[in-house]
């Protein structure tokens, strides 16, 4: 290992002496001739094997070794930092719309800043700041939203006028700008050198680094990683980390038990120029012009400029042997539009001489967020890849979170948005990935307005009623590959086309959804909710009940036919899942959870249920179509169709019964609606779906039945203060923090996961509290709409962020849900949040920099909603997912 380290250093020194490290053809040759091939033989075993010597692999090694894990081997097929890491533009930018990504970038920036001092390896770190330009008002709104989040995190950030832009960067043409965002602490680095510095530090901490060693596949036994096979022999290990960048997909598929890592490479171009006559200062801020689809940074007195074109070129679809990264062609015709945008932004550069057009492939993921976490099928198999061209910005933070995950069992922040388990096998088709990344790459620069949807890779999973609903004007969105209805456009009504319906303000479907909500309140609506994840768990004896009692916080030992809302908690009492469980018989349970839980929940239960052949769990998601009948007349429709009394006396709330509807038998009817409104969900074996739907619609005619979509559902559940998992609830939120203590049975007579943590919270109080906010001085027609992630201010001080919001047609106000923290005014330390603390504050919600007064509530407006119903009919403990 010592020899390796020396060679690393010499390599780095060489690079430092030759600042034009990008002209690698010569450097690669010279270093490879001086390098001895394989100076050190591979160890026979290690605790961790990391595959990939780019910024991700080295960052994971660095952080693991810092956290005290020493028995680590890092394998790189070529040379360290030689893939995308070597070519990437080196911009560290914290302006990220997703909060967890923003935190990663912020940490990376802090890490890189001190890395040279820590390791002695020059990283080229330069704090230049960055300016994000807005050519349109909508773009400026999106920048203001980001600025709000940066500010509350304590990251300096300013919305500036075009005139101020010129003061920061004299070359910028501002005549088409409406404003900009300035982040003064953003930085530039040499990404290859950052990677080498991380490797150097890791190596000092005992990590063994082996270059020119390829992993052929990972061996897995009984669902656990046992080792890796390389071209230089086998290494036994307990943990494997796939940081193979654009090859991660292939590597994941190389083993007997495939690990699906949905990412796909696209060519990415940037331009390097010779220095200007008067060389640009190395402290000049980086310019990001999303409307022009380009970024521009100073580079050795000249510029480096690349972008995200509208017509990306995906590559490596057929696998790696197609082309070598180093041999990719420059494609000037393809770069043309970006060059136009560059010269439009900086006309003064016309006479600047071109040095090179670099083709540097980047890997993209189906939802534009990176992929990290443990494989659902192979324990100990971790992944960190798919950086969507922001590898340098995320590298430090992503490596840290993954290391925490491996060492502590979970990262210190909620990383569900990045969790590998948000995907399943269904996102791993090459065709799907190829089509999707062609949409994702341009989206890097496209304006992201509330409720935008992907257009590619659609209609993969559909309900059997898809065509029927589509013909009735359904507009669709997608979750986990499943098509779900947003709302129904009435015949003869034209909505704006897709491009024009993109708005931060009141959307064009406002009245449509309003009438669907009205129908839910006054008559009856039917919503197809087939996408929910559905498991059946049963056993020959009491094993099912015992296991579930341990894994779920509510008491499941209820009479047959009862439905229980319960959290599936982790040791800290946080929600890993939020579900409804019906007891079908003494020994079998039917479990309904959110759509995107299909992979995560399965893996969680599989890993924790006893390995017992008398206990079976089956994923029956595809077997049932779910129709949600919402509204006061649902009871009439259903009793007419089944010739069975459905009133509360006969069919109380939270009840489940198999019955016949129309000609079809064996329909599971549950008296829940996920909205707090009265009604039922029908779980219908798919072959009866069309029949039952037709019967319901025909019978419902006289009760004014109509179709409705998820937007109506969303409005209903938010005004009822129902939290949903994945948006409001996550692994860091406990039932105590969101007013769901009644769903926890601390004294149910047996231990359950998270019990201790909850007991502790019960005694000592909670540090955040789920709160409902009613916007007071917000004009629905004129003002920007809240979305989620808006900062909440209490008495002028930041206390938390919103997690979801909707317009309540009943209150005729916007409702935001979010968490309130109590930060000590002096120390910033988190204090217990009491009911009084919540109630005794003046609140404001910050939407893109504009603050609106809000009234905080810890309980829903019961009076508004119970006027026409007896109290016992109200579903008290609903929950909702979208």
């Amino acid at each position: 290992a010592a020899g390796m380290f020396l060679r690393l250093l010499s390599d780095i020194q060489w690079r430092a002496a030759h600042p034009k490290w990008r002209r690698m053809t010569s450097s690669r040759r010279s270093t490879s001739t001086t390098a001895e091939p394989h100076p050190v033989s591979l160890p026979a075993q290690a605790q961790v094997v990391i595959c990939g010597g780019g910024i991700m692999g080295t960052s994971v090694a660095y952080h693991l070794s810092k956290m005290g894990w020493k028995d680590i081997v890092l394998l790189e097929q070529g040379r360290l930092a030689a893939g995308t890491t070597r070519f990437c533009a080196g911009i560290v930018s914290t302006a990220r719309p997703v909060s967890i990504e923003l935190k990663m970038a912020h940490y990376s920036n802090k890490l890189y800043q001190q890395l040279e001092q820590e390791t002695g390896v020059p990283t080229g770190y330069m704090k230049t700041g960055s300016i994000s330009l807005a050519q349109t008002q909508d773009r400026l709104i999106s920048l203001k939203r980001i600025a709000s989040s940066l500010n509350v995190m304590g990251i300096p950030c300013e919305i500036i006028s075009p005139k101020q832009v010129v003061q920061l960067h004299p070359l910028i043409n501002i005549h088409d700008l409406v404003g900009a965002m300035y982040v003064p602490e953003d930085a530039l680095v040499s990404s290859a050198n950052v990677s080498l510095a991380l490797a150097t530090a890791a190596s000092r901490n005992g990590v063994q680094i082996h270059e020119r060693t390829s992993v052929s596949h990972v061996t897995v036994q009984k669902g656990r990683v046992t080792g890796v096979e390389t071209d230089r022999g086998r290494i036994q290990c307990q943990y494997f980390v796939n940081c193979a960048g654009q090859w991660a997909y292939e590597l994941g598929h190389s083993g007997e038990e495939p690990v699906h890592i949905p990412l796909h490479a696209c060519e990415h171009f940037y331009l390097l120029t010779h220095p200007l006559k008067e060389p640009l200062s190395s402290s000049l801020p980086t310019v990001i012009d999303p409307d022009g689809r380009i970024y521009i940074r100073n580079w050795q007195g000249g510029i480096l400029s690349g972008g995200f074109e509208k017509n990306p070129k995906p590559l490596f679809t057929e696998g790696r042997n197609q082309l070598e990264i180093q041999n990719l062609q420059e494609d000037w015709d393809h770069f043309g539009p970006l060059l136009s945008a560059l010269l439009r932004r900086m006309p003064g550069l016309e006479a600047l001489q071109i040095m090179q057009l670099v083709n540097c492939p980047e890997s993209f993921t189906p939802d534009m967020r990176c992929i990290m976490g443990e494989s659902p099928t192979a324990r100990g198999y971790f992944v960190l890849a798919g950086m969507n061209s922001a590898g340098v910005s995320y590298g430090g933070g992503a490596g840290k979170y993954l290391a925490e995950w491996m060492v502590n069992g979970y990262p210190s922040e909620n990383v569900w948005p990045l969790d590998l388990k948000r995907f399943g096998t269904l996102q791993s088709s090459r065709t799907f990935l190829r089509h999707r990344v062609m949409e994702v790459m341009p989206l890097m620069c496209d304006l992201k307005v509330p409720r935008w949807d992907f257009q590619t890779g659609r209609q993969l999973r559909t309900s059997p009623l898809y065509d029927r609903l589509d013909a009735q004007g359904a507009r669709w969105m997608e979750k986990h590959g499943f098509e779900r209805v947003k709302y129904f456009v009435p015949a003869g009504k034209d909505l704006l086309d897709l491009d024009h319906s993109k708005t931060f303000y009141k959307p064009d479907w406002f009245d449509i959804v309003g009438s669907e909500v009205k129908c839910c309140k006054e008559a009856v609506c039917v919503i197809d909710m087939s996408s929910f994840t559905k498991f059946e768990i049963s056993s020959t004896g009491d094993q099912a009940l015992e296991s579930l009692q341990y894994l779920f916080s509510n008491d499941l030992d209820v009479p047959v036919g009862h439905v229980v809302h319960t959290g599936m908690l982790n040791e800290k009492g946080g929600y890993e899942n939020d579900c409804s469980i019906a007891r079908l018989s003494k020994r079998s349970f039917f479990m309904i959870s959110p759509t995107d839980q299909q992979v995560h929940c399965w893996a969680w239960l599989k890993n924790r249920l006893p390995d017992d052949s008398s206990l079976t769990m089956e994923d029956v998601t595809w077997k049932y179509t779910a129709l949600n009948l919402i509204g006061p007349r649902a009871v009439d429709v259903l009793s007419e169709l089944s010739y069975a009394p459905m009133t509360a006396e006969h069919f109380p709330s939270l009840f489940c019964k198999e019955m016949s509807v129309g000609y079809a038998n064996g329909i599971r009817v549950m008296s829940i609606t996920h909205t707090g409104e009265p009604g039922f969900v029908l779980y219908i074996p798919i072959e009866y779906a069309l029949h039952v739907y037709n019967e319901v619609m025909n019978m419902g005619q006289k009760y004014g039945i109509r179709n409705a979509g998820y937007y109506a559902l969303r409005s209903l559940r938010i005004e009822k203060f129902f939290a949903f998992w994945g948006q409001d609830l996550d692994a860091f939120t406990t039932p105590m923090e969101c007013g769901r203590e009644f769903q926890v049975k601390l004294e149910k007579g047996m231990q359950f996961v998270g019990q201790e943590a909850l007991l502790e919270q019960k005694q000592n109080g909670v540090y955040k509290r789920f709160t409902m906010f009613i916007l007071e001085d917000h004009d629905t027609d004129m003002d920007l709409w809240p979305w989620w992630g808006e900062p909440i201010f209490r008495n002028g001080r930041y206390v938390g962020k919103t997690t979801s919001s909707a317009y309540s047609y009943t209150l005729e106000r916007h409702v935001c849900l979010g968490f309130v923290h109590h930060f000590d005014e002096k120390t910033g330390e988190e204090l217990v949040v009491t009911t009084d603390f919540i109630n005794q504050g003046e609140y404001e919600i910050d939407i893109a920099g504009q603050r609106f007064q809000a009234k905080a509530k810890l309980y829903p407006f019961s009076s508004l909603f119970t006027q026409r119903r007896r109290k016992d009919e109200v579903e008290l403990s609903g929950y909702q997912r979208e």
């Binding site: 015709d333 060059l339 560059l342 010269l343 600047l352 071109i354 090179q356």
Partner: protein, 458 residues
């Protein structure tokens, strides 16, 4: 006087037509993806015709271009009738019997052809009964002849061409009691038309050609470049074999007068054609028919004029030359066009322009900066120019229109010059024919996947 680009486009696109072979369940089983066709008139009215149809009782698709001369009557009749003659020639005996029985008993007839027509491609309503009777006589004879052998496409094409020409000739000799029809059949017979017809069935492509229209196959080479393969021979004075054939068919004494100024008997450019009975009938027959014909015919100087050195008719035949080609995956498209196109464009250019249009790939040398000193501004200018060149490709939604744009508008550098295009299209009617001929083009696009799969099966 200057036409704006939209005006130019509306002229160029007035007659364009596209047909896509429908796909069922995403699986296109036809070797033909579809075709684009278009016409640009120089004569008023245009004398070119085009036809396209799918054979319903046998497999395969028929496509043809017809270049009329001395009026459009003959080209019109051939465009309406020829495909029926071909389809009937291809039908098996049982189907012919079935059809005949249906006609006999007044039952509904099996449809034989599904036409793919532009609204401007009309059929004569008045003559349909007459045409139908002639066609019925033909299939009745085929039923009587029943050879029992399966129908050979080459044979069928040749028979159909000859039979139709024969029927045109006979109808004119017999005449019709209806004076309108009587005049029509005479105009058809005294005018002429060339025909270039393709029959595509799976990987079997047959081209039957009579006259100087041309069929050309566009082939994509392994390196992506395009080349042209001729699938027809021009029947005119430039074709030595054709001159030889004509000379063989007539006594040595006529050798000198047979071909003069590159024309048959010094008059006719194509050496094979439908109609043109002035080159087929004896002088006596011509005189008798003209005298007994309507006044309009008698007043027409052209019809009364007997070609010089007219000793041993017939001098002209409608018999086609048939070329059979087995389609390969690299055969991407077929161009059928009247001589108006081939006069202005080399087939190699046609192959390249259509190929690049269909694949959407403009084969330009990629730019590499290499060691040159190039500024951002220079590169930007260069790229803008290249983009403009490519965008002209995508102005057209129809390959035939795109080809016409090039045929009429190309400057000496092979690029479409709008000014030139505008001038050519704004010529007054009487001048247009001096600068260009009627142009009719059909571009058939093949499905390489189906062709590849068929090849593997064989």
């Amino acid at each position: 006087f200057y036409l704006t680009p939209p005006q130019v486009n509306s002229i160029l696109k007035a007659n364009e037509y596209s047909f896509k072979v429908p796909e069922f369940d995403g699986k296109n089983v036809s070797s033909v993806l579809g075709f684009d066709s278009n016409q640009l008139p120089a004569n008023a009215p245009i004398e070119d015709r085009r036809s396209a149809a799918t054979c319903l009782q046998t497999r395969g698709m028929l496509l043809g271009v017809f270049d009329g001369h001395a009026g459009c009557a003959c080209a019109q009749a051939v465009s309406e009738r020829l495909f029926y003659y071909i389809a009937v020639s291809l039908l098996p005996h049982e189907t012919l019997l079935e059809i005949e029985n249906a006609v006999e008993s007044g039952r509904a007839l099996l449809p034989i052809l599904q036409w793919h027509k532009h609204p401007n491609d009309y059929f004569s309503k008045e003559a349909s009964k007459l045409y139908f009777n002639s066609l019925r006589t033909y299939w009745q004879e085929l039923i009587d002849l029943n050879s029992g052998e399966s129908t050979d496409v080459r044979e069928a094409l040749i028979n159909a061409f000859k039979r139709l020409d024969n029927d045109i000739s006979l109808e004119a000799q017999v005449g019709d009691p209806n004076s309108f029809l009587n005049y029509l059949v005479l105009r058809v017979a005294f005018s002429g038309a060339t025909a270039c017809v393709a029959h595509v069935d799976g990987v079997d492509l047959h081209v039957a050609n009579t006259g100087d229209s041309r069929a050309m196959l566009g082939v994509q080479e392994e390196d992506g470049s395009w080349s042209a393969v001729n699938l027809s021979y021009d029947h005119n004075a430039q074709n030595e074999h054709e001159v030889e054939r004509v000379k063989m068919e007539h006594p040595k004494s006529e050798e000198k007068s047979l071909v003069k100024q590159d024309r048959l008997l010094g008059l006719l450019m194509p050496f094979r054609a439908f109609g043109d009975v002035k080159f087929k009938w004896s002088i006596e027959l011509q005189k008798r028919v003209i005298e007994s014909g309507p006044d309009q015919l008698n007043d027409n100087e052209y019809t009364k004029f007997i070609p010089p050195n007219y000793h041993t008719p017939p001098y002209l035949t409608a018999e086609p030359e048939v070329i059979h080609h087995k389609l390969r995956p690299q055969d991407k498209f077929l161009v059928l066009a009247t001589d108006g196109l081939w006069e202005t464009m080399h087939r190699q250019d046609v192959a390249r322009i259509v190929g690049e249009y269909l694949t959407g790939v403009h084969h330009q040398q990629p730019i590499a900066v290499g060691g040159y000193k190039v500024t951002l501004g220079q590169m930007h200018g260069l790229l803008t120019e290249r983009r403009a060149r490519i965008s002209s490709v995508f102005e057209d939604q129809n390959a035939a229109t795109h080809l016409i744009r090039h045929a009429v508008g190309n400057n000496e550098f092979g690029a479409v010059d709008h000014e030139r295009l505008s001038k050519m299209l704004s010529l007054p009617e009487e001048l247009a024919r001096m600068y260009r001929d009627d142009i009719t083009i059909i571009v058939v696009q093949f499905n390489s996947h189906v062709i590849g799969a068929c090849q593997n099966e064989e």
